[in-house]
């Protein structure tokens, strides 16, 4: 359950940015995702995609950070999307109704597809 060490990697594309998160996203690690997002420069019309495929756990701090990311993207006139949300997280996100505010795609590539 805790096998994957936490990591955040970011890459930018023409269409926006992809932030890939791996490991447990909790009170200890959320600031690192936050820092990763703060380094991004988003332009109006772009899309910020958070790839969660490797995330094994996400607590309220992690959710706060995703909401902060959404606010950051909106402030720049960009959109946000989640990619590859694992089943365990999808249940939590469903419970708290995040899906309505985060378009969700099977993969980061799909997120830029439309």
């Amino acid at each position: 359950m805790t096998g994957t060490p936490f990591s955040v990697t970011t890459r930018t594309t023409e269409a926006g940015a992809v932030v890939t998160v791996e490991g447990e996203l909790d009170v200890a690690t959320a600031p690192r995702l936050r820092a990763g997002i703060d380094t991004l420069v988003l332009r109006s019309g772009q899309r910020l995609v958070v790839d969660l495929a490797g995330v094994t756990f996400c607590d309220s701090s992690g959710i706060s950070t995703l909401i902060a990311a959404r606010n950051v993207a909106e402030a720049a006139g960009a959109g946000i999307a989640l990619a590859a949300v694992p089943g365990r997280l999808r249940r939590t996100f469903g419970l708290i109704g995040l899906a309505d505010f985060f378009p969700t795609y099977p993969s980061a590539e799909d997120a830029f597809g439309d």
Partner: protein
């Protein structure tokens, strides 16, 4: 010495002045060295003592030389330590260094010192006398006391912070829950940290003649910033429930207030179960709305159990236009409804695995038919078993209808 080893180049011309600054007499160095020198016979009788040490002690040379033993210059405790530890070790090892003692001066005052001794042996290898160097340790003692004071200060400060956190926490929890006729209520708050105020909260309060409102929730984050949100959430929920008791409407109000208050890059939100309770017949009717919160667990008298599904129910305060809906539950005698925060269902059990809602359901279903206090006691025991695995605060609120004829079946 200087003549034998002249300094580098340009200093040679200054040699006469330079040498005047140097010790010209070993005797003077001995007498007025910045430390005490003492030579004793093997039985400790003082044979030789320097002026520096005599000055510290306030004795004349003839008071001590040949008349006193070194141990007699020490405090009572020091003397015992000297006889039982210092002297035997010195005899064994031939030298012993940096031992702290207190000297007793002629005027009765005490002087903290560090003592180093060596045994001087003759050419035949026989011990002849003991040479002792004594350093003034007043500065060091003062420094140690300063450290000790600083540590005590830090400990007091930590106590103060913990007391403050505890007090603040108490103001965020109701001192007592309202009594509801025919319904047993129990609650518990488990703080994960003594230093920080957690963000969990709950309350149960009268609305109108036959209706009671209740809520239980969890604000994102910890500490003072979260406590401010907790406080705002609490009184918004109470005020909104009085205005319109429909739980979905109450959560909608809270969403508007929080979202308006906390936007941008530091979003603050909470997850809440809001409900009202109307006793009637031999049970009570409960209406629940949840906002992003783990579902309430219903344990029926017959041993069946279920999480109460509430459709919709988004995080409260995070996002505009959140939607909330309600669900109704009828509590019959022997039924218990448990509300909890995710400190419980996200706790790490023995290894690193997180406890799950399913495990909680299984654990509590075995108690049926049960009561609100029994459920709280069981879950409190569960939390105690997790120990450090409980990383977040945990709040519990249980509502139950007692079976006729006693608390327990």
């Amino acid at each position: 010495m200087c003549e034998d080893h002249p300094g580098p180049g340009g200093q040679e011309s200054a040699a006469p002045e330079f040498s005047a600054l140097l010790e010209d007499s070993a005797e003077d160095l001995y007498e007025h060295a910045p430390c005490g020198y003492l030579s004793t016979l093997l039985d400790g009788t003082i044979a030789k003592i320097n002026t520096t040490l005599l000055g510290w002690l306030g004795y004349e040379r003839e008071d001590v030389v040949g008349r006193r033993r070194f141990a007699e210059l020490l405090t009572v405790g020091g003397r015992i330590y000297h006889e039982t530890h210092f002297a035997p070790l010195l005899r064994m090892q031939g030298e012993l260094g940096g031992v702290a003692f207190e000297l007793k001066a002629a005027d009765g005052s005490r002087l903290p010192v560090l003592v180093t001794s060596t045994v001087k042996t003759g050419t035949d290898g026989q011990a002849q006398l003991i040479r002792t160097t004594i350093f003034d340790a007043r500065d060091r003692r003062a420094y140690e006391q300063e450290l000790l004071r600083a540590r005590e200060e830090a400990e007091r400060e930590r106590d103060r912070v913990q007391r403050l956190a505890r007090t603040l926490q108490q103001t965020l929890l109701p001192p007592a829950l309202a009594e509801v006729p025919g319904v047993q209520v129990a609650a518990y708050y488990h703080p994960a940290s003594a230093d920080e105020v957690g963000g969990d909260f709950y309350d149960l309060f009268p609305l109108t003649g036959d209706t009671w409102g209740f809520f239980l929730g969890d604000v994102s984050g910890k500490g003072a910033a979260a406590a401010v949100v907790t406080s705002l959430a609490r009184y918004t929920l109470r005020a909104a429930a009085v205005h319109d008791p429909d739980p979905a409407t109450v959560l909608d109000r809270l969403n508007t207030v929080l979202h308006h208050e906390y936007r941008g890059s530091d979003p603050r939100y909470c997850t809440v179960v809001q409900g009202h309770l109307r006793p009637g017949g031999d049970g009570a009717a409960v209406t629940l709305a949840t906002g992003g919160h783990p579902p309430a667990l219903l344990i029926r008298a017959d041993g069946t159990s279920a999480f109460v599904p509430v459709p919709g129910g988004q995080l409260v305060g995070a996002l505009p236009r959140a939607r909330f809906a309600t669900a109704d539950v009828l509590l019959h005698p022997g039924d218990t409804l448990l509300l909890y925060t995710d400190g419980l269902t996200e706790a790490r059990t023995q290894g690193r695995d997180r406890y799950s809602e399913e495990q909680l359901q299984e654990y509590l279903a075995d108690l049926a038919p049960t009561t609100a206090p029994a459920v709280i006691t069981a879950v409190t025991g569960l939390l105690a078993g997790f120990g450090d695995g409980v990383e977040d605060d945990t709040a519990l609120l249980a509502l139950g209808i007692p079976l006729p004829g006693g608390d327990r079946p």
